[in-house]
């Protein structure tokens, strides 16, 4: 078995999940549950692909996918934060809306070969034996995902703004009483979540499989959502979960190609079961769990002036 190839594939499989989940984590930490990740991803995927195709610039496509995700999230923010609509219902609606609109926009772009984002190639370093391609030779967005993990952790737990964001998610009434702009903080968090989901979608249509087809997100938004919960809203656990999910889903394919005598249905189930099991085990301390769960998650907030 080609270990380098397997590791490269695992990282690319984990990256879209990681990026989307980190965005959702920030949104949920501020107290907003956005179930529309799948829809925002689809929008990011189609707009990113279309832009790359029309301009011939995959990098522009990446930016366009971020913008598309942000715009879709803004709609959600307007509904749930300004009009105080139910977050669960609005999120589900956003998924349906996003998937549908993406299919409509994408109709003209199906069955067109896409522009793939090139892999980074640093002379000498990328050619190092064994680790060269893994450490220095991936596409740029893989590094964005890694930086984002550190960035989100640092922001949430090492900056004042992050503290405010968490306090808004834990007790919006107190945060409001202290004079923090609850709605504005939440809106920014939702937009960040949308940007990440859009980027994750762009990753699918520009790097993972450079093409646009309807439903190409294939449920990855929902996996990202689940990762956030099972990772108890901690960035490094999200990263661990995404990598684990990627690893098991790729290795089960390798196991099949290798011809191990295990039923394929069981192997297909493994990524889900293993990831949930491991994340539940590492977060089984109930005090920690309570400390990390945003207490105001999915609760609407109307300032009482």
């Amino acid at each position: 078995m080609n270990l380098e190839g397997a590791i490269l594939t695992i990282i690319t499989a984990a990256t879209p999940l990681l990026i989307a989940a980190l965005g959702e984590l920030v949104s949920e930490r501020s107290g907003v549950l956005n179930l529309g990740v799948e829809g925002m991803m689809a929008m990011g995927a189609v707009v990113g692909f279309a832009t790359a195709h029309l301009t011939g610039e995959p990098a522009l496509g990446v930016f366009a996918s971020i913008l598309a995700g942000t715009a879709t999230a803004a709609l959600f923010g307007f509904l749930t934060l300004v009009l105080v609509a139910n977050q669960v219902a609005s999120g589900l609606a956003l998924t349906l809306f996003g998937l549908g609109l993406a299919a409509l926009i994408g109709d003209a772009f199906v069955s067109l070969p896409g522009q793939g984002l090139p892999e980074i190639n640093i002379p000498i370093l990328s050619e190092l034996p064994a680790i060269g391609r893994i450490v220095f030779g991936q596409d740029a967005l893989v590094y964005v995902g890694i930086l984002l993990t550190f960035g989100v952790w640092w922001f949430l737990f090492r900056t004042r703004a992050g503290l405010i964001l968490r306090s808004v998610g834990d007790n919006h009434a107190s945060a409001h009483a202290l004079g923090y702009p609850v709605i504005r903080v939440r809106f920014m968090a939702v937009l960040f979540g949308g940007a990440c989901a859009g980027l994750a979608g762009g990753y699918l249509s520009l790097v993972y499989t450079p093409q646009w087809t309807q439903n190409m997100t294939a449920g990855r938004g929902w996996i990202a959502l689940a990762l956030v919960v099972f990772a108890t809203w901690l960035p490094w656990r999200v990263a661990a979960g995404a990598l684990l999910f990627g690893a098991v889903s790729i290795l089960q394919l390798h196991a099949q190609a290798f011809g191990v005598g295990v039923p394929s249905q069981f192997l297909s189930m493994l990524p889900y079961v293993t990831t949930i099991l491991v994340l539940v085990l590492i977060s089984r301390s109930s005090t920690l769990l309570r400390a990390n769960t945003p207490a105001c998650l999915a609760q609407p907030f109307v300032p009482d002036r």
Binding site: M1, N2, G5, A6, T9, A13, A103, D107, V110, S111, L112, P113, G116, L204, Y208, T209, P210, Q211, T213, Q214, N215, M216, A218, R220, S249, I250, L253, H254, Q256, A257, F258, G259, G261, P263, S264, Q265, L267, S268
Partner: protein
């Protein structure tokens, strides 16, 4: 009381008006797809057929489709909705729609149903299928000749007879030119997930196969093949545009003629329930252009294609042995359609077990 009479009267008048309108209306031909109508694969193949119906029969018919219908309980609801909306003939185009189609057909005896790739029929349900194994034998032969490693990767969806039949036919084709040919099989348990199909292709290439083929619907595996400078075959649709350097050929579904024929049969009242199993010769499928291949391999593929079309050769001609080494078809014996459509065993040489 007067109000009730009036309501009933209005309802009856409406019903009469509807009945009168129906007589002049074009026949509604409806389609149910498992994926998006433009998936670049299986469902698009059917949608191209639908468009041909539109084109050929013009004002006589009105076609429509529902896409992205998941196999399972939801399918029944979707098919029933089509039946209720006044469709005269409904094509349900995925294996998993078989039982839902039969169930809905019971409640709508006047509507004609046509189910693709299944094996059950009813007085108002026809089953139709294409002999895809003919194409798979040809691409198997090509793989046997072109693979330096002598190993091909096969990405598959679900262990249903249709899929098993394809794997066996591909393997028989490959063995006909390279008796030691090996096959690595990966089940992705989905018909359509570009990411997962691409991952499966990567895993297979990483394990040393140099040719892949697939029984899933997206062009992602071929794109990976192109990225790696390796090769593969298009599925259901000519996928040349996605991988101009990687595609050898593709098994292209051309359902259109069949659809036109069947819709016409409803129009002139000759429609009857039947079980259709057509091959390349009937025009229900075709091989895409042979590309990226040396002339002699193209010649071999074309010769095989011609002998299948002429009926001279059948891919499942004995001697055929199963994995246990038992003879399934004797020298010169051809497996009958029943054996093909219920296939649940691998031919000798496949080094894997069918998931149960």
């Amino acid at each position: 009381m007067r109000k009730i009479v009036a309501t009933v009267g209005t309802a009856m008048a409406l019903a009469l008006a509807a009945g009168a309108a129906q007589a002049d209306d074009p026949l509604k031909a409806c389609f149910v797809y498992v994926g998006p109508h433009n998936d670049g694969g299986w469902s698009e193949g059917h949608d191209t057929g639908r468009k041909l119906v539109d084109e050929m029969l013009g004002d006589l018919v009105e076609t429509s489709y529902i896409e992205n219908v998941p196999e399972g309980p939801d399918a029944e609801r979707a098919i029933e909705r089509q039946a209720r909306s006044g469709c005269g003939i409904i094509f349900t185009t995925s294996f998993g729609f078989m039982d839902p189609t039969l169930k809905v057909a019971e409640d709508f005896p006047d509507v004609k149903f046509e189910h693709a790739t299944g094996y059950k029929t009813a007085p108002n349900v026809t089953s139709y299928n294409a002999r895809f194994y003919e194409g798979r034998y040809i691409i198997g032969q090509i793989a046997g000749r072109m693979s330096d490693a002598g190993v091909a990767g096969y990405i598959v969806s679900f262990p249903i007879p249709e899929v098993i039949m394809g794997i066996n036919s591909f393997m028989l084709g490959a063995q006909s030119v390279n008796p030691d040919f090996k096959l690595k099989i990966v089940w992705v348990n989905t018909w359509f997930d570009p990411g997962k199909e691409g991952d499966a292709a990567k895993a297979l290439f990483d394990q040393g196969v140099d040719i892949i083929t697939q029984h899933t619907d997206s062009p992602a595996p071929l794109q990976i093949a192109q990225e790696r400078g390796l090769h593969g075959f298009g599925q259901a649709h000519d996928m040349y545009e996605f991988a101009p350097k990687a595609q050898y050929t593709a098994i292209v579904d051309t359902w259109g003629e069949y659809y036109v024929k069947r819709v016409n049969a409803v129009l002139d009242g000759t429609w009857e329930s039947q079980a259709t199993f057509d091959g390349i010769v009937d025009g229900i499928m075709a091989m895409a252009d042979y590309t990226n291949l040396p002339d002699e391999v193209v010649a071999m593929a074309e010769a095989t294609e011609a002998s299948i079309v002429s009926g001279e050769f059948h891919p499942f001609t004995g001697p055929i042995y199963n994995q246990a080494g038992e003879m399934v078809a004797a020298e010169g014996e051809v497996l009958d359609d029943g054996a093909l459509l219920g296939m649940n065993w691998y031919v000798q040489g496949i080094d894997d077990a069918i998931p149960q």
